[in-house]
Symmetry: C2
Subunit: 121 residues, 2 copies
Amino acid sequence: MNEVLELTRVKECSGEYVLAIHDTMNVINGKWKLPIMGSLLYGKKRFKELEREIPGITPRMLSKQLKDLELNSIVKRTVYNTTPVTVEYELTPSGKEFRSVLDVMVEWGMQHRKRVLKKIR
Amino acid sequence: MNEVLELTRVKECSGEYVLAIHDTMNVINGKWKLPIMGSLLYGKKRFKELEREIPGITPRMLSKQLKDLELNSIVKRTVYNTTPVTVEYELTPSGKEFRSVLDVMVEWGMQHRKRVLKKIR
DNA sequence: TATATCGATATACTTTTGTATAGTAGTTAC
DNA sequence: GTAACTACTATACAAAAGTATATCGATATA
């Protein structure tokens, strides 16, 4: 096989990978995105519900991060014209699928913890 | 089944999960840890090699992040008493295992990108 | 009339993270 | 002797992220 072509393919491939990882990082960066997504995994939530469920978050941060998540198509915001307005946040299909990432993060985190504790004892 | 006990178990469980995710986040936070780990996936590297391979990183950041990764048992630092000293960095078993997290991050990132593009077109 | 709720936004501030630039001690090559 | 390489460290600064606190208009409740 042509080695130059092969190298090009590898480079393109790793380029795509880097992009994909970058996208994923963008979704989870900062202190509050994962707690918000974690809370929304259990169903739709309103602003104040999220504020109450996520200890320590300020409305400013909640608002900011929700906007960010909406921009990245992770969260869908729906406004109902009740009085006063009701606003509901829910995960998009992409947001729900993110669970698979969380799952391996949990698995790796627990394995890592085990390995580190083994060495210390 | 006792509902109170069940609730306790669920809470403990989700507590462990949150801890594990927190640990995982600690490994990848900041701008440079993933590029460093990515570079080390292909084998041991010396300080200057990493500096050359990771575009834009300053020696200060490289040094800092390597120390962080070493503290978290992701990277192992070995000093050889040659003249001048040679220092080699490599991934620990935990560090190598982190590939599984990267893999789903890549997969999710690519799927997410597809879903988003579909909507725009 | 007073107070509380909802879904935020405004302003000011602190902390964390990252950048820019220079310098160190020891060694090797020209 | 001077320039370059290795593996860093020091200092100063800029930018990003997060916190604290107050406020908004509209409505519902006591």
